[in-house]
């Protein structure tokens, strides 16, 4: 028990260290912008007063970090009144700064959009499972047959076709030709179908392969022979015994993929103009050079990703006692 606690504390310490570094990196990213943000926002014709006002309003008039090393001045110590510490104070109190363009608090904009992205990621995962489990089981139990080859082909296609190819293709077929769904937007409940399929396609391909190899591996185990010897039907052997054991690695992948989906959603949201975090990052943040929004979005997405991964590790070691975090 004591060993377990120490191990847990170590993991937590590392997690905090990684989160601290990620936040610091995001905070300092704004420093690598060529030129200064004020000119980028206000334009080349802005007067020096306008620029000074803007910088003061967004705290950009302060030094970037505790110290600076410049060729003309050498090493210079700035003390605690700097942008890096300001951003950290904000993060701790839940304040991610104000949009450079609209002055709206960034955290408000993010939490307005965040539920949409989560909804999309979960829907994509649901669709992926719906396709992958039956297809993977079919392929695994019929190894080497036509069904198996078809599922392998499907899986490879899913992995090789990027979302920005499948997405517009789905739009063309289901929105333009068949007129079943709207091509873009997130207004009606059914609008989620095409984006979720697009986002889930790659995942379903990866999962199909995993379920397949997992089923093949489990079918060779002794307990399967026992179950068959007991006279159980093949269906019960597969669905009650094999699938239960075979799904353990799949569950881990699902957890890890939730983060990937959150990030992959950036492109899918762009294709379908889905009003999520990714679209906020691209259209309001990057396209308008509103760096505060970019910082906020990158921060929230990566912290979610780290937490999702750590949680998966935890659940995984709890599910299977043989696996211990090292």
């Amino acid at each position: 028990m004591k060993y377990k606690l120490i191990n847990f504390a170590k993991q937590l310490g590392l997690l905090l260290l990684v989160v601290w570094t990620v936040v610091s990196l995001v905070t300092l990213l704004i420093e690598i912008v060529p030129g200064d943000p004020a000119t980028a926002i206000l334009g080349e014709n802005a007067t020096p007063e306008q620029i000074a006002n803007f910088n003061q309003k967004h705290g950009l008039d302060k030094p970037a970090f505790f110290f600076s090393i410049k060729s003309e001045k050498g090493f210079e110590w700035h003390g605690a009144d700097n942008r890096y510490l300001d951003y950290w104070k904000g993060v701790v109190t839940g304040d991610l700064g104000k949009s450079f363009r609209t002055d709206r608090p960034v955290q408000d904009m993010i939490f307005e959009r965040y539920p949409n992205t989560i909804k999309l990621a979960l829907a994509a995962m649901f669709i992926a499972i719906l396709i992958a489990v039956p297809l993977g089981v079919l392929a695994g139990t019929n190894k080497g047959t036509l069904i198996d080859n078809f599922s392998s082909f499907f899986a490879l296609l899913g992995i090789s076709l990027p979302s920005f190819v499948t997405g517009p293709f789905l739009v063309y077929v289901f929105a333009v030709k068949l007129n079943i769904f709207a091509p873009t937007g997130s207004y009606n409940p059914e609008d989620i179908v095409l984006p979720a399929f697009t986002l889930g396609a790659a995942l379903s391909a990866i999962l199909t392969r995993m379920v397949r190899s997992s089923v093949i591996e489990e079918l060779g185990e002794d307990y399967v022979r026992t179950a068959r010897a007991k006279g159980l039907s093949e269906r019960i052997v597969v669905y009650k015994h094999v699938l239960k054991n075979g799904l353990i690695p799949v569950v881990t992948i699902l957890g890890l993929q939730l983060g990937v989906l959150l990030a992959g959603a950036i492109i899918t949201e762009k294709i379908f103009m889905w009003q999520g975090l990714g679209l906020l990052l691209l259209d309001d943040g990057i396209a308008k050079r509103d760096y505060r929004i970019v910082q906020g979005c990158v921060l929230v997405i990566s912290v979610t990703y780290i937490l999702a991964n750590s949680l998966t590790d935890l659940v995984y070691s709890w599910l299977d006692p043989r696996i211990r975090l090292t």
């Binding site: 990684v18 990937v260 950036i266």
Partner: protein, 271 residues
């Protein structure tokens, strides 16, 4: 190696030839605008049709192959070199060096999901070919470093390494002459799959407008241009050809990677 591997190698060789000789293969100037023939269907004059500005899709696709492979190969080579060095150092020296590198640094880079770090870097640095390659290398090396570390950890325990040490070989000599050549195999597989990933990442970033800048014809940019509002009801060849090009390229390198993995790992070969 199975049939798919050979198909992969075949496609990859053709791609490389096309990329090298692109200037001689193109039939039209890739940036020449002629709106009189916009959205022309594939024909004898324009094999793959023309786009919204009347540019020849075939020529743009061929030039796109060059850009795609250029980015893919550069990113893969640089990432492999950096990843190998850092991974080998972590695995070979162990102790606090390994704790810092694999325990901390790898985790920091793995903490950003997928393309997010690249998107963020390009967003702050500005778009462009050089910055795109830099961003993809920054997110790419850590995968190789992890594989390399694991390999070195394994190989350094082998008897011949002990023998070399007993003979008085220096650390550097042991690492580069004895360990690396025996640890590199899985990295070749990883590099082939990484090449597919790099091509895909370049297309993704260009699709988002953060990679190769127009009028240079990246496949990602071509797809972005193909799904403009008025194109939805227009000829689909604009979407079809670059889509197929990306899929074939990625498939080819995935085939090669999968085939090599099976070939190099006798345990998998039996299945």
């Amino acid at each position: 190696m199975n049939r798919l591997t050979y198909i992969g190698i075949f496609i990859a060789v053709i791609l490389i030839i096309v990329a090298i000789f692109a200037p001689f293969i193109v039939t039209h100037d890739v940036t020449a605008i002629n709106t009189a023939i916009k959205y022309a269907a594939p024909s004898g004059e324009h094999w793959f049709g023309t786009d919204a500005l009347g540019r020849d899709v075939f020529s743009r696709l061929i030039t796109g192959a060059r850009i795609s492979l250029q980015v893919g190969i550069t990113v893969t080579v640089v990432s492999v070199v950096i990843g190998t060095i850092i991974g080998a150092i972590a695995g070979f020296y162990g102790g606090w060096v390994d704790k810092f590198l694999s325990g901390y640094l790898f985790n920091v880079f793995l903490a950003f999901p997928g393309l997010l770090l690249a998107i963020a870097l390009v967003a702050f640095l500005g778009a462009g070919l050089g910055k795109l390659i830099l961003a993809l290398c920054i997110i790419g090396w850590v995968g190789y470093a992890r594989v390399m570390r694991g390999q070195v950890l394994k190989v350094r325990e082998f008897d011949f390494v002990q023998a070399a040490r007993a003979l008085g070989a220096s650390n550097l000599r042991i690492l580069f002459i004895h360990i690396l050549p025996n640890a590199i195999q899985p990295l070749i597989v990883q590099a082939s799959l990484g090449m597919a990933g790099a091509v895909l990442s370049e297309a993704s970033l260009s699709f988002l407008g953060l990679g190769i800048q127009p009028p240079a014809p990246s496949w990602g940019t071509m797809i972005e241009e193909a799904r403009g509002f008025d194109t939805l009801s227009n000829p689909q060849h604009l979407l079809f050809f670059p889509g197929i090009a990306i899929a074939l390229t990625v498939l080819a390198f995935n085939f090669i990677g999968d085939g090599l993995r099976e070939y190099l790992d006798p345990k998998q070969r039996k299945r």
